[in-house]
Amino acid sequence: MNRHATIIVLFVAGALMLAASRSPSPPVAVVVNSSNPLDSLSWAELRDLLQGNLRVWPNKRRITVVQRETGSPTLEAVVRKVLHSSVQEYNRQLLNLEFQGKEPVALKTLHSDDGACVFVNNVPGAIAFISADSTKLPACASQVKIVRVLDHGPSDPEYQLR
């Protein structure tokens, strides 16, 4: 009996330690070209951007969404938080959109945060989702504008896109 109790206690303690050691998910920064007047976005605006309901910026620039490749934690976090679904589901929705004869979402997939950042820097209407982890921030991050989400920046503890 005592032996079973000891094993259970050890198991519970190990689980607690594992839970305690897990760090919170890194925030995902939303970046746009520095010429873009946009400063902040809501969840609804983000959803419209990803689903192709919002195609043009207020300054008449065509919107190009830049995302990371399938399987990247950044893309998964964005889809999960904004659309409350999985990446596979999101891709299916985009294919359905094209299948229905609607204009496809202007979407570009890049294999690195650096590339995404450079892309946004060169395309005035682009918006990209990149990791906001301070240790992994791309070199060109200073040349693009980081947009606040629900009036919070990636460094805020209340920032929800992570």
Partner: protein
């Protein structure tokens, strides 16, 4: 010396010196030309060569800036397109750096205007090009290609044409500058050639002037020697005492041969007697006189030499501290070859006399011989005037002279005259004197 006389005498050196002065001005002028040439060459390098180099780089980077992003049109994958875009951006940075370097050059006004124009044109091209890049990355390749053809290419061509024009300007500038440098170089080379000629002329003039100065000094010296020689001859003609005359000869010779000490000895029945002694110890001179007397001089080699390294030489110093190292001597001979004395030079160099020194020694011996012979002739004349030629007994003239001397004497001593008359002495005289003559 009057100016006219100076001109007539020194006109060649003066002319050559003027040429030399002209050469000096030429040298200054050539130096200034070379300095200008260096400045021009420097400008040629800084503006012409450096400008052409920057212009060449500018052309290369503008072409690269355009070419690299055009590659991006060949694909739809943004991951492949982006490196080309980044290359184009890097080339843009190089272009702007080159503009800054270009603007730092001291360009001609026309080139500066053209450069500013090219910079504006490049900016307007970049604004089109940025839009084209944006469209390419957005995946609108056909639209981007259309925009590039309609706006980008013309804007780039304007810029490229103006860059070519700028290159022509720089080429022309470099050619002009090079020609200018070449002219300055030739001019300087000509002036340097003149300078060399003038320098040669000046050196020639200086050597001529030195020659003239030497000749003048020789003439002056010769005049002085001649005057002193005349003074010596005058002493001889005035029947001055032989020591006085020989001392004058010694002074004359020592002046002619600086550093030499002269010794003049006269041969007397007892041997050589030094009449004009050098400034050396008497023992040393006496030893040399004996040594010289023992040496035999041949007619073909009338100059004898005794060197200090020889066994009998003892150290002797002059009053100025110089140690005598050699003695050159010659015999004084009369016109009929009799030895009258000896002339010797003591010098501080251990060597034999050179030609001019031997000549001086010989001339001195001749002068001494003249003095001695003149003295001897005068003494002989005086003797003959007061003595009978045949018997060498005092004659009537001496009797008169002695009586006059005795009478004119102020002493109160009495005077007696013994008169001896020999009868028929004329017959004795005639018979004894004429016989040997008739027997010849």
């Amino acid at each position: 010396m009057k100016p006219a006389e100076i001109l007539s005498r020194y006109w060649r050196p003066i002319v050559l010196a003027c040429v030399g002065a002209g050469g000096l001005f030429g040298a200054i002028s050539a130096t200034l030309d070379l300095y200008d040439g260096m400045g021009e060459a420097d400008a040629l390098y800084k503006v012409g060569v450096a400008g052409l180099s920057i212009e060449s780089d500018l052309q290369r980077y503008t072409q690269e800036s355009r070419r690299t992003f055009v590659y991006a049109l060949t694909t739809n994958d943004p991951n492949v397109q982006l490196p080309y875009v980044l290359q184009a951006r890097a080339a843009d940075k190089s272009v702007s750096t080159l503009y800054r370097r270009f603007a730092g050059l001291d360009l001609e006004l026309e080139s500066k205007k053209l450069l500013a124009q090219i910079e504006d044109e490049w900016r307007s091209y970049l604004s089109v090009r940025d839009e084209v890049i944006s469209q390419i990355l957005e995946g609108r390749g056909p639209e981007a290609a259309r925009l590039e053809r309609s706006s980008g290419v013309p804007a780039y061509e304007i810029c490229a044409n103006d860059l070519n024009t700028l290159k022509q300007h720089l080429d022309a500038y470099a050619v002009r500058q090079l020609a200018h440098v070449r002219i300055l170089y030739y001019r300087s080379a000509g002036k340097i050639a003149l300078l060399i000629l003038a320098t040669l002329a000046m050196l020639f003039a200086l050597s001529k002037l030195a020659d003239l100065r030497r000749s003048n000094q020789k003439l002056t010296e010769a005049e002085k020697v001649e005057r002193e020689r005349s003074a010596v001859l005058e002493l001889v003609s005035q029947n001055r005492a032989l020591p006085e005359v020989l001392q004058a000869v010694k002074r004359l010779v020592e002046r002619q041969r600086s550093g030499a000490l002269c010794s003049i000895s006269v041969l007397e029945p007892t041997g050589l007697r030094c009449i004009a002694a050098p400034d050396l110890s008497p023992e040393f001179v006496r030893e040399r006189d004996i040594e010289m007397g023992e040496m035999t001089l041949e007619a073909s080699h009338p100059i004898g030499t005794i060197l200090a390294r020889e066994a009998r030489w003892t150290t002797s110093r002059a009053s100025d501290g110089k140690e005598m190292q050699a003695c050159w001597f010659t015999q004084v001979r009369s016109s009929d070859g009799r030895i009258l004395g000896m002339v010797a030079f003591y010098v501080a160099h251990c060597r034999r006399p050179q030609e001019h020194e031997s000549s001086l020694l010989t001339r001195t011996a001749t002068l001494v011989a003249l003095a001695i012979e003149h003295r001897q002739a005068a003494e002989q004349l005086a003797f003959q005037a007061l003595h009978d030629v045949l018997t060498t007994l005092p004659n009537r003239a001496m009797l008169h002279e002695q009586i006059e001397d005795a009478l004119s004497s102020e002493s109160n001593q009495s005077l007696a005259v013994l008169w001896v008359d020999l009868d028929r002495f004329k017959q004795v005289n005639d018979s004894l004197v004429i016989r040997p003559v008739t027997s010849c």
